[in-house]
Amino acid sequence: MTTRIERRFAELRREGRAGLVTFLVAGDPDIPTFERLLERLPAAGADLIEVGMPFSDPMADGPTIQAGNLRALSAGVTLARTLECVRRFRARDDTTPLVLMGYYNPIWAYGRLRFLDEAVSAGVDGLIVVDLPPEEDEELCLPALERGLDFVRLATPTTDDRRLPAVLRNVRGFLYYVSLTGITGVKEALAEAVAPQVARLRRHTELPIAVGFGIKTPEQAAAIARVADAVVVGSALVGEVAAHLDAEGRPGKGLVAAVHGRVEALARAVRTARS
């Protein structure tokens, strides 16, 4: 049995192009607006969707995504509500892979096994949990794999060849290469630096490789799309949400269209990068 993630990467290979992975924080800036954003992401060109599970202390994120987390929490988003959003999305779209990304404590507080079971039934395809390195695989990774939920791991510039086998051991779905040492959305990814790293990873794994952190513009996305299997864009989209809030933090009229417009431009760049 193949998974949605496997099917999507197989399609991308057939089309001879990289995929676009979009990241938004669940319930940012509020749940109805987020659901409108989510619903049309595939039509705007997202090949794979990452949804952030809001956390009060997102240690690996820069100011843009920190702010998105806080907006979502202020709007009353919980893990249960995040799963409800996924469930409603999945009722309308059975093909676009959806991966939840976040930090461990909200999952731990919810009850790890309960969370995994509900994530599977809601239609989640994979998990990225930033603060669970392979040393802690028994916490969540192994129970997730037992339930058929992919566990996507981050590899970073500091993950050397000695450590890579440990990082790759229980990864399923795809490998997420963090293009730089740092937090999200602050520095800029350089394709010249990324290319040899992706080549290095390919010597160790057959898994598709997505590259993220520091990719904002269509030009940067296209450059990465020439070397990686997928390009992840997060802070630029969350920043677009922030840019369309009024003084009281309420969503302005153009918010949804602006975010989708941004996704369309990125998708065009990614789709044509290799032609």
Binding site: D57, R163, T181
Partner: protein, 403 residues
């Protein structure tokens, strides 16, 4: 000598104390944490390193710190004999420097030229800035904007010592947010930078390493009380924020089961007000800043902003070894409010001529409740882990005095 069923052998090879501890960090940091663990394992067995550390502690920090019989406080409370472990007499005025010297020497051995630290009360920041100045290391200290406001003298001290103090404006703008920001810096500058954590918190090996550097407090106290009284104390009392001064005092006594260990959390405005920092009394196990431990969090696992008059106790978590010792019943946990700490601050000033920091003032407040119920020949040792000069503005404000 190995003691059967010793409580002093933790953590295990996964950095766990029972359920607690671990290494819950981003992959970027993992290689660096493993490198640190290896470096630490090498120096802890290296007599040369230990001799170097001991020389610094003696000549630069001023150890051993006295164990002082607080005669007038004992008389006033009318119960147990109270001894104060005078770690406020250390260079820089708190216990924090014991650990800073150790980690900074380790940083130098590892070839790291840049040190970062988080600070709440500013004591750890000052101690870090001090040892970095002495060892010629670049130093950046993250400090919450709210704490900068509360601890202006320490901010100025750090700058005088050549450190860059970076204000943190995210979240509650206190210690937890300073630690988030320090972790973000570390992820960004991982190759060049040594993260000098100030408490027995964070990912393995920090809780064990900081404990071992602070255990000099308990080793000295044990020898000193044996010399003065010919026997072990009945009770040890220490304030806990992250828990480093308490663990430093308690750890050498863990296997002396007849010695009661009392950790005092910050009850802020009261344990039932929601405005406190009592992680063990009011929190649940959770994961923050690299380890699992008791944590103040809401039902959804979001971290609750703590409150305490003491910037050094204003932290939503606690070291993992404390959590484990609490669960197995070795550690007694109690709390003191802001008001009780202020009263204890004034009492010690007037009776003993010592201004305690607001952190150990919490331990003194708990002692004031405990000592009268104990017999006169009972022995209590309180960790006076910092001096109160840095807190005079805060205390003045609460007493309605304008400076």
């Amino acid at each position: 000598m190995t003691i059967a069923n010793s409580l002093r052998t933790g953590p295990d090879e996964h950095g766990r104390f029972g359920l607690y501890g671990g290494r819950f960090v981003a992959e970027t940091l993992m290689p660096c944490i493993l490198e640190l663990e290896a470096a630490w394992e090498a120096v802890r067995r290296d007599p040369g390193f230990q001799a170097e550390l001991d020389a610094w502690l003696a000549d630069y920090v001023g150890r051993p710190s006295p164990l002082y019989f607080a005669e007038r406080l004992t008389e006033a409370l009318g119960g147990a004999k109270i001894y104060l472990k005078r770690d406020e007499l250390n260079h820089t005025g708190a216990h924090k420097i014991n650990n800073c010297i150790g980690q900074a020497l380790l940083a130098k051995r590892m070839g790291k030229r840049r040190v970062i630290a988080e600070t709440g009360a500013g004591q750890h920041g000052v101690a870090t800035a001090t040892v970095c100045a002495r060892l010629g290391l670049d130093c950046v200290v993250y400090m919450g904007e709210r704490d900068i406001e509360r601890q202006k003298p320490n901010v100025f001290r750090m700058r005088l010592l050549g450190a860059e103090v970076r204000p943190v404006s995210s979240g509650s703008r206190t210690l937890k947010d300073a630690m988030n920001e320090a972790l973000r810096d570390w992820v960004t500058n991982v190759e060049s930078t040594f993260y000098l954590i100030g408490s027995v918190a964070g990912p393995h090996p920090y809780p064990a390493m900081v404990r071992d550097f602070q255990a000099v407090i308990g080793r000295e106290a044990k020898a000193q009380i044996l010399e003065k009284e010919g026997r072990l104390p009945d009770v040890l009392v220490a304030a806990v924020g992250g828990g480093s001064n308490a663990m430093g005092l308690f750890h050498p006594f863990l296997d002396d089961r007849e010695v009661r260990l009392v950790a005092v959390e910050a009850a802020g405005e009261g344990l039932d007000t929601g405005l406190h920092a009592a992680a063990m009394l009011k929190g649940r196990p959770g994961i923050l800043h690299g380890s699992r431990s008791y944590l103040l969090q809401d039902e959804d696992g979001q971290v609750i902003e703590p409150h305490s008059i003491s910037a050094g106790l204003d932290y939503p978590g606690i070291g993992p070894e404390h959590s484990w010792l609490k669960d197995i019943g070795r550690l007694e946990v109690t709390a003191a409010t802001d008001r009780e700490a202020l009263e204890a601050f004034e009492t010690l000033a007037r009776l003993e001529g010592i201004l305690p920091a607001l952190e150990p003032a919490h331990a003194l407040a708990a002692t004031a409740k405990l000592a009268p119920s104990l017999p006169k020949d009972a022995l209590v040792v309180v960790n006076l882990c910092g001096r109160g000069d840095k807190d005079v503005y805060t205390v003045a404000r609460h007493l309605g005095v304008e400076l």
